[in-house]
């Protein structure tokens, strides 16, 4: 975990530098008072300062951290993350309500090892409920896919 903390500090340093750079492109002063770049510039510089403090602390503690960043279940997180990306990429094909229903059924089957009937039934109820509650009752224009759901 020590290396992860160090990397996080470096990412914050980069983030602060980017904020500072783009904020410096904005006017610092306006016609009557501070301009649009005033606060962002200070935010960026403060981020750089805090990042340096975080990096120094991480360097001192890099060997003392016993806990590992990658846990036995981290690959499950990665699996759900990839499944979500695939679900969202497939929305133009299936539509949002059916896409989310397929996600629910798929993860129940793969991550929860539930029976096929329960997974299919839950997916069907999810698709119908999302369409009915959000699409019809709340009138949210949910994206429809090629299949028309």
């Amino acid at each position: 975990m020590g290396v992860a903390h160090l990397l996080a500090g470096i990412v914050v340093l980069l983030f602060g530098s980017v904020v500072t750079f783009f904020a410096s492109q904005l006017p610092y002063k306006g016609e009557y008072g501070p301009g649009p770049g005033f606060l962002p510039l200070w935010i960026g510089m403060a981020l750089i300062g805090c990042a340096i403090a975080a990096i120094l602390k991480a360097v001192r503690q890099v060997d003392r951290e016993k806990e590992r960043f990658v846990q036995p279940k981290t690959r499950h997180v990665a699996f759900i993350f990839v499944t979500l990306i695939v679900t969202f990429l497939l929305v133009p094909v299936f539509g949002l309500s059916l896409g989310l229903a397929l996600f629910t059924g798929f993860t129940m089957r793969t991550a929860g090892r539930h029976g096929w009937i329960l997974c299919i039934a839950t997916a069907a109820v999810t698709a119908a409920a999302v369409r009915l509650i959000f699409g019809v009752m709340l009138d949210i224009p949910l994206p429809k896919g090629v299949v028309g759901l």
């Binding site: 975990m1 008072g33 649009p36 962002p40 403060a46 279940k73 949002l96 989310l100 929860g112």
Partner: protein, 503 residues
Amino acid sequence: MDLLSNLLTGFSVALSWQNILFCGLGVLFGQLVGVLPGIGAPTAIALLLPLTFTMNPTTAIIMLAGIYYGVAYGGTITSVLINVPGESSTVMTTLDGYQMALQGRAGPALSVAALGSFIAGTVSVVVLMSFAPILARFALRFGPAEYFGLTAMAFGLLTVMGGGDPVKIIIATLTGLFFATIGIDVVSGLPRFAFGVPELLGGIDPIVIITGMFGIAEVFNSIEEEVRTDVLKAKFRVRDVFLTWQDWVQSRWAVVRGSAIGFLVGMLPAGGITTASFLAYLMEKRVSKTPERFGRGAIEGVAAPESANNAASISGFAPLLALGLPGSPTTAILLAGFMMWGIRPGPMLFQTKPDLVWGLFASMYIGNVMLVLMNIFLIPAFVTVLRIPYTILMGLIVVFSTVGAFSANNNFFDIWMMLGLGVLGYLMKKLNYPVVPLILALVLGKLAENSLRQALTLSGGSMGIFFKRPISAVFVSLAILAYLFPLVQWAIKSRRTRRLAKG
């Protein structure tokens, strides 16, 4: 008399069938959320917020507030019966509550928690109703300098009371402030940090950030931490619930002290209900003549933190409504909800929306009565809910988060943003960067920046304006002290270490 007439106005609003129905749904949902480990009050409110887009704002806020204070009741059930706190605010309850359950006294433990919560909640509403308008009248004197001071103080207190690495808390706060600056600057009309992406010109909707960092991130974290929902062994009957006279005598002062501590801590920026329950437990142990009973099934050890967390959840509405300043992640999300409905909480709210404010206060009485009844008669039903596997709940959270993020602007880009922010929230939690300061800074960022710029424009660029006005001077001084506090702490610690090393 004013208070009485306002209360009558409030009850006339709260007693409409829609408001009773949605108050009931809110507290019921809050109880369910509290029972289920892995879903917190902020997540539950974040997920339901988009559903309230088309609702009457008063009804919506009554329901969401019901969820908030209902969660504290629900979390107790798991703390007592299976030693798993459904909510962080009920962690302290596990210490004595579970021990009582092991001794066959789960009923009195749940009962004193419900009764304590009811008393604390009801008394807090009374105090809140008297105190919030005074706070609002006081806040009418606030100008840009005071508002900037107030927000700076809120951010500063987070570093002291946040309970983590101050540097990480400040980084999270700055990140939230940065998110708040994205989009077209209202004063100059210039785009900031949009990088040519048209969807970013209007800024990032707080709902998208909240659904990502509380909904999706919570799914990722819960998968990794393996939420235990299948360890239930206890059997429970309604007749087991009632307290004996001796139980009541033992716990009555714990309820009073817990309520007082909870109310005071709940009002502080970054105070929060978890801190309140923690402090109430410690205080009860300290004043007890038999502190050795604590941790072994002392009924006061359940009564005090439970009363405190409920009192704190109610008193957190005082700064939110009177000053527009949220003190906890849940009230920060509620503030985002207010903004979504086009309402700006603050001193003027009591004059412009009296039906909303007093209707909300009155609904809290009704909600507390509903909760105490639910806690007596529906505990066996809530216990059954615990058996729902997380792999099913996960799907529900993803569905609500995704549709919620989409419905903020009816834009698919927001779904990708939500996913990215979900990953950010997951990594932040893993690396001990707190999410709460980010959310607080995000919802208060615009107020902080606008008041800072207005104050500096008024003073011709002089920072002296923050110290010339007495109220802002107090706020800014407290903010500076809060930011210096970790440095002082570090210096003392280093000196002590050096002294110990010398010998």
